[in-house]
Symmetry: D2
Subunit: 299 residues, 4 copies
């Protein structure tokens, strides 16, 4: 870890020593908010931000994200987690309870095009992307200098479809060694196997260079050009086994016209890809995203 | 009331007979959400949507909007309101508790340019703006036909700065007779006196044809043209005694270029004014807006 | 023709009595602009606006749109057209030369959902859509009142796939009788046969309720909901025999989130459909669109 | 000059060896386009892109930008410039004739906040901003490492209002030595004197962190927060002696809400500032901007 980031991290942890986040989804019924808020109040926690959504008032599913300040959270966190188990059982909740000072650990995968990686590193350096970037893995050498220049470990693992199994074995080993919470595919141009995906459910965030479901698959800018669209876009989504079909976290577009050839579309598109991926990763790191039935609720 | 709207209204009230909304703002402290949600649970109410915001975890102000389903709300509403007084006192709350079937009553003021009025009437006819438009008041006759064609009472009250007191006396009398909750200035080109404004705090919604605070006051499109801006906009805000300085509810912009003369800017602008005002009115009607220190929280 | 529109039309024609437009596309080579501008100058015409685009400097295709003022255009127009034939032959041009006072004649097709029709009628009434709306054809009765209220002929022609041939025969007959230049499908929910399309090349403008090529075909909002997209859109395009595959004129999008159910998506979408179709029709009427290889150049 | 950029530059110059641009503004009259296009044709130049605009068909001003391919432009350029003087005189033109291979030389001024500088350097490295960045001048040391790391000369010139004259004398001397065409103020937080501005008319591009004319002057984000706007923006403009009143080149905005405190507004704003300034500089470098009466025509 670079001393620069170490310093930044310590400031962040100091500032957020009492800040926690609770994410819950469960079958809807009266009394859920009452139970949760009573629970938090019993620890003298103050709810700072709360967002709730129900798919359907009758027989639907309930989702909530709560951010709270709790004095001496460090000392209480373990106990709170244990105590919450009872409420969770009562309402059949899926849930996560996370003190904000437990910063998530991220791995970035990248190939030859570096713009998405650079955007993430930039946001990270300016303190807007609070995560410990534990390593960068690439099937090319292009990113090495910039990554190592920031004291982040860089692993060059050549990849192609014939050696996919060995490659992923190495990658999974590294992810395990570095205790990774989030994997960001920042224009990593290799397909992941079901084995790799299954090992990391709702933990792999990809950027696809089109506004999905338009232009699923390869060469979206070439196909956008050939179709004569007036908007191009980018989509960030969790990776599932169906190519480009995972839950969408964020999308955005830019206006183009007849003067834009494929090269121009790519340039314009890079700027959208950068900001869409950065927003998606940020929201994931802030525990703002819940996946439900191949869709996301973003609070 | 037109039979068309009467029918639409009845359907809406039937569908929302158990739906209520609670808006609260108060000094922040632990336990507020617990108290409110416990209160709702005690009536077997199910929270459908909830949004909360605190200006500052320590010593700040707390805001919440809750939408809930409560069986037999019609029978319970009066009692709930009375019981909530106690909680409100405990936390020094400003609050409103409103069953959704108590549809708000709206007055629209308009002058010669009808596009904003027409947009509101259109949304109203298509069921997207659920309010009882009780009357339209104008200092011109242009709107009479379209308003009366929808069986909405139309009052022509000529106005100018010399007779402002008498004009407003008539208007206030009409507002009282029609028991009005909301006043929408849909391009009403007369200045209101402090007396009129004071009688309707946070109840008058205006549309200003610029992205405030740029081009406060008269002739914003002419001044936008002369300044050579590349964006024009519109702003919807609550009316206070400071011209164009009231709390902003919504703003939007459109891109323009050197080819747009003043007439073209006005055409483009009309489309933004229409949608910005319609959104602001809709949010107000849905109790989504809280005013705090000359700003709005829009949930 | 309503007396209202007749009056508006006369003003427009008076104001534009000397205004003309020239659209050209041809193989690129040096000297084209020189030849065209020399030609216009020889009639003492002043170029007001000119836009040009070449697909490729070497061996590509050249496109230009020129708007000019020419004294006594009414008297000269016929001669200018004849004289231009020679230049056109020299450079193998496809071209159109059109005095602006020769206002285009439009037919609007609509089914049960009226929002796109209403937007067009609105823009037309406010003078922003300068065309003679010669008739409205519908397979339902919903639009009759509003259309006839504006003194526009309304034809109710029930339609379904079993009687398509007879229906289209009637429609083509009406289009011929009314000497129609442009056909706007303002949410007309019937598929046109190749016969009908072939009779009206690059003259039929459709609005599709998705950002194509996403959600080609039926029920796009339902599919957008089910896919969990964060943007919905609309596309206006010329109709060809490939469903939703014709040259795109304009597209736009709006942001949505997890709270929007199908009904909410449709409401948000209606507003985009309205503005996208209105822009596309306006550009077509102003001779701003050239079709080339299933794409549009919009000047 | 870094060897990296030297290589990139040579490729660009090779590719654009026959590409030229002509910018003209003059009183409008028939025959201008004919004269210009005949002139270009006489050198066998092929017009690739052309945009024209007239403020008013009668007695207005005419503006045109033409991009052309001309075989052996290198050999002809000097002669073309001389010959064009005659046409220019005939029509009282202000004009510039510039072969694209004559790449402009840019100076960037920056203070402590580096995001705009970094964006420009990034675009420059990826080949999207074709200019020779000849030097960076700063009143702080923050930017030194990144600038010198790219082999661009960095000059640290401390500045404050008491030593403005000496500081500007040094700066003007450096600009002269480096033969600078364009000065970009990439968040340079010092006011320039009329003397400095007069020495560089329409050559200094600034980024202001608000959508002008809103929040002219200091601390725009603080004032945006305090006003409770729902949109924040950035404006790039040429610098004149009236603070933040120069001709606007480009503006853009982002949506914000009540949750954004000043710090959050600044973060969101940085992203807009980056892209707005980059677009404005790019357009200036491509000779797309003409200044007329304190406004810009952007072709």
């Amino acid at each position: 870890m670079s001393s620069f980031f170490k310093n930044q991290l310590e400031q962040f942890q100091e500032k957020n020593q009492n800040r926690g986040r609770l994410l819950v989804s469960c079958p809807d019924q009266p009394g859920i908010v009452a139970a949760i808020s009573q629970f938090l109040f019993s620890y003298n926690a103050n709810i700072i931000e709360s967002n709730q959504y129900s798919t359907n008032p009758e027989g639907g599913r309930f989702f909530i994200r709560i951010e709270f300040e709790c004095p001496s959270l460090k000392d209480k966190a373990k106990d709170m987690k244990q105590q919450f188990v009872e409420i969770a059982a009562q309402f059949s909740m899926e849930w996560s309870f996370r003190p904000v000072f437990e910063v998530k650990r991220t791995a970035i995968f990248v190939s030859k095009e570096l713009h998405c990686l650079l955007e993430l590193l930039w946001e990270w350096q300016s303190g807007d992307l609070l995560t410990d970037i534990a390593l960068v893995i690439s099937n090319h050498e292009e990113a090495r200098d910039v990554v190592e220049g920031l004291n982040i470990p860089f692993y060059y693992i050549p990849a192609n479809k014939d050696i996919r199994a060995e490659v992923e074995a190495k990658q999974l080993q590294l992810l395990k060694e570095h205790d990774i919470d989030v994997i960001v595919l920042a224009r990593y141009m290799q397909i992941l196997t079901p084995n790799f995906v299954a090992a990391n459910p709702n933990k792999i965030i990809n950027i696809h260079h089109s506004f999905l479901p338009a232009f699923i698959g390869a060469r979206p800018y070439e196909r956008a050009y050939s179709r004569g669209v007036k908007l191009i876009g980018a989509t960030s989504h969790y990776v599932t086994n169906d190519l480009d079909e995972g839950p969408i976290i964020e999308q955005d577009i830019a206006r183009v016209d007849h003067r834009s050839n494929v090269e121009a579309l790519k340039k314009i598109g890079r700027s959208i890809e950068r900001s869409v991926l950065a927003r998606a990763v940020k929201w994931h790191l802030e525990d703002r995203v819940i996946v439900h039935q191949n869709k996301t609720i973003v609070f």
